[in-house]
């Protein structure tokens, strides 16, 4: 039996080590494939220069700006919306409505992004063009609005979960002291649920950075670095999708590995932050 349990232990260890190695190998592969570009002046030079293959420039600065501005603007729009949604579902909605509402939000997480993009192309984009931003209507603001809609359900589910996990003895005590539902939410539940809320926020940011379809169809994909939210922009993910069809041996093609490395690093930093934050609530309540 001892031998069997040791064998099983080994097996699990190998599985864990294997998947960890795979992740590391992926990163090394990305670096290896992007090497010809780095030899031109390193990742920093790539990050600073524009994209103009005709002039021999394969910089991804415009895409970095595009990705960051679209993702953070989406978060800026989606966060208050989601927090309000979570408050409504946990506290203010009539009791029989709460569960159906949450189920509806869960359903929303499953809608493919191409459906959002398609709807936006025919509804949001013409509206933007005629009434708000002018131009083609394909811009950072349009894409960020759609992305906000995409990531809101994820955030709402996390927020609801975090608020519900606040021990009821705390809120009951506040209720006994005469606190209204709004007061209990703002002064008791929100501070205690904050780490969970932050988790949801970071996860949503990761999803916003990683999404390809919405930015590819709605943001315009212009290669100029955007100067305002009404400008078109190309994200790192959309850039990969657009250039992947280019000749394999070209520097254009190799630039997508630099984009891959950046997205990889960004996700890694997000996950590390999540882990560090995951420890915080224990310290608070423990």
């Amino acid at each position: 039996m001892a031998i069997l349990s040791r064998a099983v232990e080994r097996l699990f260890f190998l599985a864990a080590a294997g998947s960890a190695l795979l992740t590391a190998a992926l990163f090394l592969l990305l670096v290896h494939l992007a090497l010809p570009l780095f030899e031109q002046g390193g990742l920093l030079a790539l990050l600073r220069s524009p994209w103009d293959p005709g002039a021999g420039l394969y910089g991804i600065y415009p895409m970095v700006v595009g990705s960051l501005s679209i993702a953070f603007l989406a978060l800026l729009i989606g966060f208050p919306l989601s927090l309000g949604g979570a408050f409504f579902i946990t506290t203010f909605a009539p009791l029989p409505l709460r569960r159906p509402l949450l189920n509806l939000v869960r359903l929303l997480t499953g809608i493919p992004t191409v459906v959002y993009s398609f709807a936006a192309l025919f509804l949001l984009v013409p509206f933007m063009r005629e009434h708000l931003t002018g131009g083609a209507g394909l811009n950072i603001l349009s894409a960020a609005l759609m992305l906000a809609l995409l990531i809101a359900p994820t955030m709402i589910i996390f927020f609801v979960d975090a608020i519900r996990r606040v021990p009821s003895s705390y809120t009951q005590a506040a209720a006994a002291l005469g606190g209204s539902p709004a007061q209990r939410l703002v002064y008791i539940a929100l501070p205690l649920a904050w780490p969970g809320i932050l988790n949801g926020l970071l996860l949503a940011l990761g999803r916003a950075m990683g999404d390809t379809m919405i930015s590819l169809m709605i943001a315009g994909n212009a290669v100029a670095a955007p100067e305002s939210v009404t400008d078109g922009a190309r994200t790192l993910t959309a850039h990969i999708a657009l250039v992947i069809a280019a000749d394999v041996s070209s520097l254009e093609f190799q630039s997508i590995f630099a984009c891959g490395i950046l997205l990889y690093l960004f996700t890694a930093i997000l996950v590390l932050t999540l882990r560090l934050l995951g420890r915080l609530p224990e310290r608070h309540t423990g």
Binding site: A136, G137, L242, A245, D247
Partner: protein, 280 residues
């Protein structure tokens, strides 16, 4: 006397022969190419080719339901790459592959149609004729408002195609004479997406395969020549290219049947029906 006897015979003979010719190449007979085959043929690449590919596939399946034909887009770059790596049996290209590409993958070229690349605007746009230099200035960003061209006082929304597009290569090479495309131009990923974009944007300008032009977009005459099938066929409209299907090595079996059908009378008739210029 002899002459008077022969005379009526010649048109008669021609008539009989053409009747035979017509019968022998009637659609049903060309479709025989697909009989007896099994398996699958996967196609990807150029998006201009798709309407013709779909029609051929549809007809092939009516005579032989045992075969599978899949058709994907992706653009010329994808077509060349995937057929080169033998991920598909037929890769479509909207431009002639380079010598390097042909050599590297051992590609065999089949040019089955000629296609123009036409500039298009929204049907509501009054500006439906441009000179070559105006077009170059528009795409370079030097002319930025429709007002400068006699249209509405609105900013011109530029649309272009992705780096791997054969349509883009032909447009930049022959219509813009290798002129610059503004970095602010919106980039779309297929001929279909371009048509949708221009049909929805009253102030947009873009370019598509002439075979894709329909009533949802308005063709723009270039230096007085409209991008129509007739003008491409007569050589008056110069922004044209061949439509290619590529195979890695000589095609076999079902793949060969598919390509043979493209070059048959009925295949070439599909080419005409879809707005392209046949090669036979």
């Amino acid at each position: 006397m002899n002459r008077s006897l022969k005379k009526p015979l010649v048109p008669f003979a021609v008539g009989v022969f053409s009747l035979f010719f017509f019968l022998s190449t009637a659609p049903a007979d060309d479709l025989d190419l697909f009989r007896g085959h099994k398996g699958a043929v996967n196609i990807s690449g150029g998006t201009a080719h798709i309407p013709v590919m779909k029609e051929v596939a549809k007809r092939a399946l009516t005579v032989n339901p045992d075969i599978q034909i899949t058709i994907a887009g992706g653009g010329t770059g994808v077509g060349i790459k995937q057929v080169g790596e033998q991920m598909v049996q037929i890769g479509n290209a909207g431009r002639k592959p380079t010598e390097a590409e042909i050599k590297q993958h051992g590609l065999v070229l089949f040019q089955w149609a000629i296609d123009g690349v036409g500039v298009v605007v929204n049907p509501k746009n009054k500006v439906q004729a441009l000179t070559g230099s105006q077009l170059r200035d528009i795409y370079a960003g030097k002319i930025a408002n429709w007002k400068e061209l006699g249209g509405a006082d609105r900013v011109i929304n530029l649309y272009t195609r992705d780096e791997a597009s054969g349509t883009r290569e032909v447009f930049v090479g022959k219509a813009l004479k290798k002129g610059a495309v503004s970095a602010k131009a919106n980039v779309v990923v297929s001929n279909g997406a371009m048509k949708t974009a221009i049909a929805n944007d009253p102030f947009g300008i873009g370019y598509v395969s002439v075979g894709h032009i329909d009533s949802s977009v308005a063709p723009v005459a270039l230096d007085g020549v409209a991008p129509t099938e007739e003008n491409v066929r007569d050589g008056k409209y110069k922004v044209a290219r061949g439509l290619f299907s590529l195979t890695a090595g000589q095609p076999q079996g079902l793949t060969k049947a598919f390509l043979d059908y493209l070059f048959s009378t009925s295949g070439q008739r599909i080419v005409i029906d879809k707005g392209f210029i046949p090669v036979r």
